[in-house]
Amino acid sequence: MEGAVLEIENLSAGFDGKDVVKGVSLEIPANKVTAIMGPSGCGKTTFIRCINRMHELAANAHVTGTVLLDGEDVYRMNPILLRRRIGMVFQRPNPFPTMSIYDNVIAGYFLNGTHMSKSDRDRVVEETLRRVALWEEVKDSLYRRGTFLSGGQQQRLCIARALAMNPEILLLDEPTSALDPKATAAIEELIAQLKGTVTIVQVTHNIPQAARISDFTAFVHLGELVEFGQTNKLFTVPKDKRTEEYLSGKFG
């Protein structure tokens, strides 16, 4: 595919010798939103955790196949450097509880021991918080703990923390599953705004959400990639019978 930033070939992964992801091949286009959709427990999360090599941190995890980032095999890269290029946001907001909002935003730099001048730090914090539409809400409480924020604000703070590192790709693992509808809407709006400047891969089991936010959708079922294509095409004229059944609510 033209402009693919991630090329995944025949990726299988799982735990204790049992595959959860089975031979998935997929090309993820640059600066678009790609939704990984499927019923719970179908291996979506395991799949995206293979992209930034978080999967291999679990005990008894295995992975085979290749993942190419700009043509470079991520499994031959240093995982630490790889993860600085691919940001990740998790299901539950997880700001660092010992740090202020300000410190949470630049946590990637601070924890990696990167020296920044005060003015650089201030600039990165303000720019990033504006990017996630949190600046106006928190500019007077930057030095309070990040955990004082509401769930939706915490999740936007976590997105800011990932964006502050200027990643090429942002992996979102069901970022709204622990949030109320209003906070969910705010995150979806944010994703729409970020698109075009960063490649987003979002896992979701929420069909309408995939339809609303994504340009491309991959439907995964029982660890296999069933169908991949432009979201409007996949949702209107699914090629595979299983996709049609899932979209019409027959299972999942």
Binding site: N52, M54, L57, I80, L81, L82, R83, R84, R85, G87, M88, F90, R92, N94, P95, F96, P97, T98, A107, G108, F110, L111, N112, G113, R145, T147, C158, R161, A162, M165
Partner: protein, 282 residues
């Protein structure tokens, strides 16, 4: 099924509650008696001179426990300097790699150390330090106390770190933070209050030990800051004075008991304060 009337169940309920209340009151009786007794007998000997003067020879009135106060502080300091770095490191290792073979062996060793009577650890310090150095010293006493404090700190650190959610660790790793930095800068700070609690409990335990100091720090009627010389401590002073035949020394022993009690109580309160105030919300 046999019907049990509501009335009867409520009666049973009340009887059970009354029973537990009565038994818990009984359980507090010894502590209350000890507190009252020590305060009555000990508080009267407390004055400025008691805290700042050295012991006087038998027959002279007055005299204080300055040597024992300074000694206890120094012994605890030596014990802490050895046991805190070792204990916290071992605790981190157990929390991170506790399931490995070396991890289970370490845990077994630490738990065994916890169960060894303190006087045995005193003998060990005697053989390891006092005999080679040819003399009793504060250093050997501090090492004996370190062995008593070490398992308390290690196990508290491990338990605290195991409670830290995986999501926090993942947040750091996903930012491209290396594993050692993740542990030192994210996991450890999040567990700080629990680790401090363990340290304070270990200090409280070490401060009250007398048996391992009998043949290590030995005791010293003079004030000294030299850790290679014998040194006094509160528990030793209490032991020596209480077993003496002189009534004025008995009074000093009560006073020293009171000071030690206040010290340990203060540490326990501080522990509660630290764990409440610095508790991290996830």
């Amino acid at each position: 099924m046999r019907e049990v009337s509501l009335q009867r169940r409520l009666r049973g309920d009340k009887a059970f509650k009354a029973g537990t209340l009565a038994l818990s009151l009984v359980a507090t009786v010894p502590l209350t008696l000890i507190l009252v007794f020590i305060v009555i007998r000990g508080a009267s000997s407390i004055n400025w001179q008691f805290l700042t003067a050295l012991p006087k020879p038998v027959g002279e009135s007055g005299g204080g426990i300055a040597n024992a106060l300074v000694g206890t502080v120094l012994l605890i300091l030596i014990g802490s300097l050895i046991s805190i770095p070792l204990g916290v490191s071992a605790g981190i290792f157990l929390a991170e790699r506790g399931k490995t073979r070396l991890g289970s062996v370490t845990r077994l060793a630490v738990e065994t150390l916890m169960g060894i009577p303190s006087i045995v650890l005193g003998i060990v310090a005697y053989v390891w330090v006092v005999r080679p150095m040819r003399g009793f010293s504060a250093l050997s006493g501090g090492i004996a106390l370190a062995m008593i404090m070490l398992p308390v700190i290690t196990l508290a650190t491990e338990e605290t770190l195991l409670l830290i959610p995986v999501s926090l660790r993942e947040a750091a790793l996903a930012l491209g933070v290396s594993y050692p930095r993740t542990v030192l800068r994210v996991v450890l700070p999040a567990g700080l209050s629990g680790i401090l609690t363990g340290v304070l409990l270990a200090v409280a335990r070490g401060a009250g030990e007398s048996a391992p100091l009998l043949f290590t720090a030995f005791g010293n009627p003079y004030l000294t800051g030299n850790i290679l010389k014998p040194m006094a401590s509160l528990p030793l002073t209490i032991f020596n004075y209480a077993t003496s035949p002189y009534p004025e020394w008995h009074a000093l022993a009560w006073g020293a008991s009171f000071v030690l009690l206040v010290f340990v109580l203060a540490l326990n309160l501080l522990t509660k304060l630290v764990s409440a105030k610095w508790k991290v919300q996830f």
